[in-house]
Symmetry: C2
Subunit: 221 residues, 2 copies
DNA sequence: TAGATTGTTAATCGATTAACAATC
DNA sequence: TAGATTGTTAATCGATTAACAATC
C-alpha cells in the first residue's frame, strides 16, 4: 500500500505491536503471522496486515513477518531509532512514578530533565536527576534538544506549563492534568486522564445486584 | 432517542462533559448550549446533543441545558450517584500518586483499600490507608463491597493480580501495567499505558528539522 | 505440488456531522 | 413574533473486516 493518510488509531496500535514483538524476540521467536499477533493482541489479523502495509511490505507471503526486521521497521516508523529526549514538569507523586518508568521507556525515550515550580522541590533528586526551577526550562529544552514534554502539575497550572513548553519549542505533550489544553495545531497533545478512565468504567458496573451477602445479613444494618 | 446500544466512545465523553459542567456550576452558570460545550471541549455540537439524547431529553429547545440538572443526570448515568468503592493493588510510586488523586476522584469514587505483595510495604501508610497483604484481598473486597480494582503492580504480576481481583468478585479493572490482561468478558478492563501513549506521540515528531541553533554552532561540537 | 500467509480491494459496519422541523 | 437551540433523521465520512489473488 504505502502513502494514504495514517489515522491516529493505526499509530496507536504500533507501540502495542512493538511491545509484543520485543517479547517474542526475547523468547527467540524468529517469525510471526498476523493471525498469531491478532490472537495475542485481541485484534483482527486483517487489521494488523493493513496497519503494517501502510508503511511498507514487511511480511513474506506464506511465511509471516520476521520478528527482528519488523521490530526494526516499527522503531523507525515511530522514530525510536534515535534517542528522544523528554522533559517532565511537576515533581509530585505522579512525576516520581513516571520517572521510574524509564525502565519501560527503554525504547530510546529518556526523561533527561525534571522541573517544578515550588522552591521546596527544586534541588531535590528524582532518580538520578536534580529538580530544576522553572526559570531554566526554556534553556534546558534547547540545550538538551528536548522534544516531548510530560505535564504532571495540578490542573490549574497545566495550561500555563503547556504554554511555556510550546514557547520553548517542544513538539508534543503528554498531559496528565484533567484539563483540555489549548495549543497551536502543530503541537501534538495527548491527555491521559485517570478520572475520565475511572468514571467511564463506572458506567459498566452492573446495577441490579443488590443480593445480600449471607455473612453480613444480620439485624442492625 | 433513548435505547440503542451505547458505544464506548459515547461513554468516554460523558465524564468530560461532567467535568466541564461542574466547572460551570462552580462559576454559577445556570444554562449551557451544545454549541458552547462543543467550543470548549473541541467537539461537534451535534455530537454532544446526540450523545446526551441517547439517555433522555435533557435539554430545552431554544434554551439549552440546565447545568445542575444535566450534572445530576450524567452522574446517574455513570452510576456516580452512589459511592463506588475502589481497591488499589500495588503501593509503589504510581499507587501513591493515584491514591492522592482522590481529590480528583471526588465524584463518589473512593479508594478504600490498598494492597501490596511485598512485606516491606505492608503496614506502611498511604494517605490515610494502611497497606494490606494480598491474603486479605478477597475478604476486604467482599466486606467493603469494592467494585473496581486499580492495578499498579509490575507487568509480570499484573495478570496474576487481575485473576485475584476477578475471583474476588470485582466488576471492572483499571490497569496501569503495560500488558494485555485476559479476563472473562463480563469484566470491564481499561488499560492506561504511558509507554504506548509516549511512543505514539513520537510518531508525530517532525523530522527533517536539523537546522543548527546559531548560538551552539561553534567549533568543537 | 499443497499449505500458509501476505497485501489489497471490496463490503460492511459504525461513528460523526449536517440539516431541519419542532418548539421554547 | 423573531431568535435560539434542541432532538433526530439523513448524509457523510472513516475504520474495520472479509475475501481472495499472488506467492513464498
Amino acid at each position: 500500500m504505502k502513502s494514504d493518510k495514517i489515522s491516529e488509531a493505526v499509530v496507536r496500535r504500533l507501540p502495542v505491536y512493538l511491545r509484543y514483538l520485543n517479547e517474542l524476540h526475547k523468547r527467540e521467536v524468529a517469525t510471526v503471522s498476523s493471525q498469531e499477533l491478532g490472537q495475542r493482541l485481541d485484534l483482527n489479523p486483517a487489521q494488523i496486515r493493513k496497519d503494517l502495509a501502510y508503511f511498507g511490505d514487511f511480511g513474506r507471503k506464506g511465511i509471516g513477518y520476521d520478528v527482528i526486521y519488523l521490530i526494526e521497521k516499527i522503531r523507525q516508523i515511530l522514530k525510536l531509532d534515535q534517542q528522544i529526549n523528554v522533559v517532565l514538569v511537576g515533581a509530585g507523586n505522579l512525576g516520581h512514578a513516571l520517572s521510574n518508568y524509564n525502565a519501560f521507556l527503554k525504547d530510546n525515550m529518556k526523561i533527561v530533565a525534571v522541573f517544578d515550580a515550588h522552591t521546596a522541590k527544586v534541588g531535590t533528586r528524582i532518580n538520578n536527576l536534580t529538580v530544576l526551577p522553572m526559570e531554566e526550562l526554556s534553556d534546558t529544552i534547547q540545550k538538551l534538544s528536548i522534544r516531548i514534554g510530560i505535564i504532571t502539575v495540578p490542573d490549574i497550572e497545566a495550561q500555563n506549563v503547556a504554554d511555556m513548553l510550546v514557547a520553548a519549542g517542544i513538539e508534543a505533550i503528554l498531559n496528565f492534568a484533567p484539563v483540555i489544553l489549548k495549543a497551536p495545531s502543530h503541537i501534538r497533545i495527548h491527555t491521559a486522564d485517570f478520572t475520565t478512565d475511572l468514571q467511564s468504567l463506572a458506567y459498566y458496573l452492573d446495577n441490579g445486584k443488590e443480593e445480600m451477602n449471607n455473612d453480613t445479613a444480620e439485624a442492625g444494618h
